[in-house]
Symmetry: C2
Subunit: 339 residues, 2 copies
DNA sequence: TTGAAAGCGCTAACAT
DNA sequence: ATGTTAGCGCTTTCAA
């Protein structure tokens, strides 16, 4: 491997001088600068960033931990984070926990051993507490994305899950639905709790009773529990609309409904949180509360870098990004609408 | 920061002994092993992998370079690569070149300076040659994904673009189409050339003339050139079917067609390479030649690690993964079908 | 079974 | 303007 000493020798200077040329620090005569630069170019020398991090005590690497790389919400978010990191001169180490605390733990250890300068952290859920405390114990700056974790105070970028859920509920109620079910994520996850709260408020506002059997709790990955959905739907007073807690849940729900011979929206309306990606956008079907995924990533990243570079206020910041109701075809008035 | 010396001191041993415990090398009495391990756990010590890489001359980090993080083909591929890397104990540094040689160059420099152990490399195109040669010059193992680059001999995982294109063409011909246009990627990209070759062969087989004005060349990102598409379509003998070189191109084409008031497939049939993601799968619309994206990533990663760990044959390996025709709704017989 | 010394590639602090 | 020294945290000899 070619090192700074190889350059130094060939340019007849000390390693220190080469270092100064590379990092544009200290005073160097333009003559030597040019000579050194030429040798660098000639030999195609690229400094070893591991050696650099060792002495600098910083790596220039940030980590983005997401929970589901198959969810367009997170890949779009990743794109935003990457753009922002690149812009500010940081490299980005991606990690995907798959909504799994075990995987999350192993990634946290990896990023700790890499000594990343900071972490954009979308927690799997409340039990991510340990992992976040590990970061805090080592004073590694982080910004929590999307989901909050009780017991952790930090910079946060989140959506407004309660309000978004309420919007969707109001829309369904306006369409005339009175029997609305919720297929939620895990109660372990803050956004699921807030969406359920929005759901409940929506029912209340409309003077509807909350029926516990109308609430299913699963996780945020594609929903596959046919049985549970069947028992929700069967019987004389099944729901006329389903509020799915996110896009992947909605897709699973719709797939099961169709398999069962039920049409969306003719037999059952479906709405959800989070939009799908460009690929489905030429025929947008789902009525959703869309969150600005790219913004989540880009603003989170900027917040993180500001924190690292001491450009942020001392107190932890919280940014709530609103969601937007996008009305499309997956929800209509129920057959038995009261008008 | 807590170092190996902190552990050593507290456990009343030398740093060397701690190192041996951590890496399970050398002989250690189980008594000291336990004592050391206890201190490690107690202090939550995690070794600094930068220091480690410096002396070991390996990082345990692999890089995956893709060209479009918004394309479900690549995110699915990324998932496969990540799973395989994780399984074999490597960490994965993602990078997204956005089909841009400049960005690709800057990422190659970054991964060179990180001294990654190997690279899964989806090249932006033929001009990635420089970047790949840089890797070769430093003997960094890599596997080329998806697209080949003239001038580079290496392990390769690719699809069968020519054959896949031919399948799509035969299908369109069988439906009765005789005026078929191609909206291709850049001629700079091997898969685009091969898809064009398959297109040409398809025409020939059917005894159809190739009309140069029926071939558009753009890039693999979402197609937006309304003008070009309009001039392709306008006139009395416009195409009855369009072969879009990949999924994102197809989406762009369909969007423009609809904007223009043309229905798919009633007015124009559209087929393409690469499937969409789960999000669109509940209402699959596009007729595609689907490539096994997850396999691209997983097998490529295994191939790379085998190469790094000297478990691969000396000669570069090439794996061609076939694509699969998935017939759906976006293509039908033309109105003026000859039967 | 354990440890001392040297060095991986780089830069901060301090000469010169 | 340039160079020397020391040390970042770790592991590989090699010696005890």
């Amino acid at each position: 491997m070619i090192t700074i000493y190889d350059i130094a020798k060939k340019a007849n200077v000390s390693a220190m001088t080469v270092s100064k040329v590379i990092n544009q620090t200290g005073r160097i005569s333009s003559a030597t600068r040019e000579r050194v630069q030429q040798v660098i170019d000639e030999l195609g020398y690229i400094p070893n960033s591991n050696a650099r991090s060792l002495v600098l005590q910083r790596t220039g690497i940030l980590s983005l931990l997401i929970t589901d790389i198959t969810n367009p919400f997170y890949t779009t978010l990743a794109r935003g984070a990457e753009d922002a990191a690149h812009e500010r001169g940081y490299r980005l180490l991606f990690a995907n926990s798959d909504e799994d605390y075990g995987k999350e733990k192993s990634y946290v250890e990896a990023l700790l051993s890499t000594r990343v300068d900071g972490v954009l952290f979308a927690p799997a859920g409340d039990r991510s507490l340990d992992h976040l405390q590990q970061l805090q114990a080592r004073s590694i700056p982080f910004v929590i994305l999307d989901r909050t974790v009780p017991g952790i105070t930090s910079d946060v970028i989140a959506g407004d899950s309660r309000e978004g859920a309420l919007q969707l509920m109001r829309y369904l109620v306006k369409l005339g639905h009175r029997r609305i079910a919720l297929v939620n994520g895990s109660p372990d996850v803050s956004t699921a709790r807030l969406r359920e709260q929005g759901y409940m408020e929506g029912l209340q506002e409309a003077g509807l009773d909350a029926d516990p059997s109308f609430v299913l709790r699963t996780d945020y990955r594609e929903f596959r529990d046919e049985q549970a959905l069947h028992s929700l739907l069967d019987g004389p007073d099944g729901p006329t609309a389903i509020f799915a807690a996110n896009n992947l849940v909605a897709i699973g729900v719709i797939r099961i409904l169709r398999k069962k011979g039920l049409a969306v929206p003719d037999d059952v309306s479906v709405v959800c949180f989070d939009d799908l990606d460009a690929a489905s956008a030429f025929d947008p079907f789902l009525t959703v509360a869309a969150q600005p995924a790219y913004e989540f990533g880009a603003r989170g990243m900027r917040m993180l870098i500001d924190r690292i570079e001491d450009k942020a206020p001392a107190e932890p910041q919280t940014v709530i990004l609103p969601s937007e109701l996008r009305i499309r075809a997956s929800a209509t008035s129920p057959r038995s609408a009261p008008w």
